[in-house]
């Protein structure tokens, strides 16, 4: 019992220490470092929320780009009329509602329909926005002029990350989190045990998607100019999935372990081998599926099992 307690205390200290460092970072580092950390925080919030849904339910969603894009467009439309805080909240609400609708339609069915549907959703929304912009507002792209600069984006994303992690932690320990785990283990058992599996899946999907919309809203000022092609760019959906899967989606802090190396790799690639990014993305996917099915977290757990002296879980 004592050992468990001190492990938790140490973890808490590490997290608090990390938070303090992250809070003062913009004041003590160069603009480049802050930009790098913005990318890391951005992808961390996206990958972690993606994993909170995909981990227990094993549903793969490629709709992240759709929700991020919605967030960006919310900012583009509202940034000059409302304070940024409200813009972000509105983006989150819109994302939540859309995801709820999509979820209700597709989460009752098997995995493949969901995957195709979520991918198609990004395409669909992009086309709809393009059509709307060309025919109705007669605008192709939009400029985002705002005082929301680099430090504000940084802190916005930091807060979003913290909220995501805290929610994920509380969720996991709540009865809701157990319902989610049960659904992942055996949905039939879940339903017959009194869990309204559809509702649980839909709400989780909607909540995690609203985080993505919020992230998109926060990041938009950084891009300064968006059009449907830029805002609804599929690639980010896939990048998030790879990062989460590389790190491991069975643990709350798993995706971060995938985000950091891949953000650095993508940085490197975009400057040196820009044309090869698709190929490398593809190879990484394949590598992860075949060699690291449970991600880095999975490897860590296997190693821990190897080194532990006795297992108290199982018949002797």
């Amino acid at each position: 019992m004592l050992i468990k307690d001190s492990r938790q205390v140490i973890s808490l200290f590490i997290i608090i220490g990390l938070l303090i460092v992250l809070c003062v970072l913009p004041h003590i580092s160069s603009a480049y470092i802050v930009s790098l950390f913005i990318s890391i925080l951005y992808f961390t919030s996206l990958a972690t929320s993606w994993a909170i849904f995909a981990g227990p339910t094993r549903y793969i969603s490629f709709a992240a780009a759709a929700f991020i894009g919605i967030g960006s467009y919310t900012t583009a439309f509202l940034v000059e009329t409302l304070p940024m805080v409200f813009v972000i909240i509105i983006a989150a609400v819109i994302g939540f509602c859309l995801a709820a609708v999509v979820g209700l339609a597709t989460l009752r069915l098997s995995g493949i329909y969901f995957v195709i549907f979520t991918f198609g959703l990004t395409e669909l929304i992009r086309q709809l926005v393009l059509w709307f912009e060309i025919n109705i507002t007669k605008n192709l792209g939009r400029y985002i002029f705002s005082d929301f600069g680099r430090p504000e984006i940084y802190y916005g994303l930091l807060i979003l990350c913290v909220l995501t992690f805290v929610s994920g932690y509380i969720l996991h320990r709540s009865r809701y989190g157990i319902a989610l785990r049960t659904i992942g283990d055996d949905e039939t058992v879940a339903r017959h045990s009194g869990i309204n599996a559809t509702w649980v899946k839909v709400v989780t999907f909607a909540a995690t998607s609203s985080v993505m919309s919020a992230a998109g809203a926060i990041m938009a000022p950084r891009w300064t100019y968006i059009d449907p092609h830029i805002a609804f760019n599929h690639i980010v959906s896939f990048e998030i999935a790879i990062m989460a899967l590389l790190g491991g989606i069975t643990h709350l802090f798993g995706p971060v372990l995938g985000v950091i190396p891949l953000v650095l790799l993508l940085e490197f690639l975009s400057t040196t081998f820009p044309h090869y990014s698709l190929v490398i993305l593809g190879l990484s996917f394949l590598l992860i599926v075949f060699l690291l099915p449970n991600g880095v977290v999975g490897v860590g757990r296997s190693l821990m099992k190897l080194f532990s002296t006795s297992g108290d879980r199982g018949p002797s």
Binding site: I178, R181, T182, D186, S193, G314
Partner: protein, 244 residues
Amino acid sequence: MNETTLLQVSGLKKAFGGLVAVNDIDFHIEAGEVLGVIGPNGSGKSTLLNLITGETKKDTGAVKLNGNDISAMQPHQICRNKISRTFQLVRVLPTMTVEENVMVGLLFGSERKNFNECRDEIARLLSTVDLGEKSGFLASQLTYIDKKRLELARALANQPILLLLDEWLAGLNPSELEESINLVKRLQESGITLVIVEHVMHAIRSLCDRVFVMNLGQKIVEGTPDYVLSHADVVSAYLGDESE
């Protein structure tokens, strides 16, 4: 149909494409009894259970629990109406411990307990099925019969008034079978109404007050175990396939 009728099934029908799995079935279950359902493979027994628990949607017919039609309800609502079941191919939650498996039944079942209220109840349920010493084990590492017991414990966590056992006694050796039959008897004595779908005729004889036989989706014979098991139609439906 009288005041002690717990479940009334009338005109229940379900077809999958061209195959009629359950064909216009009528029967009732008295409160407190043990009803056996037997029949050759493919006779529609599992589909019948699935229709009652809402896993499969009926084509026509009614299923009334204490007078209320539950035939359109989803499985989680059926559960909350205090009907539990076990599955033909045993289903436990593999990444969770024995304790957690039972807790799921308590948290989301008809009683909807809180975390703190669970501990004693879990211990009681596990001792009922004789799994008390293995509460920390991972469900995936249990033996076959222990998994069956765990499934039963989870079903019992729901405080069911009606318990459907789908071939729960299959695959057991003689001593395990006797133990399990005694366990089912104790469940009946504690007031639970039971429906057992079985191929093990010895169990049917020992446990059931009434039995009905299904063949090709229809009810062909109904009565006491002795009557049913020596009936010519039943014997021919099985083609002499009585497993003891």
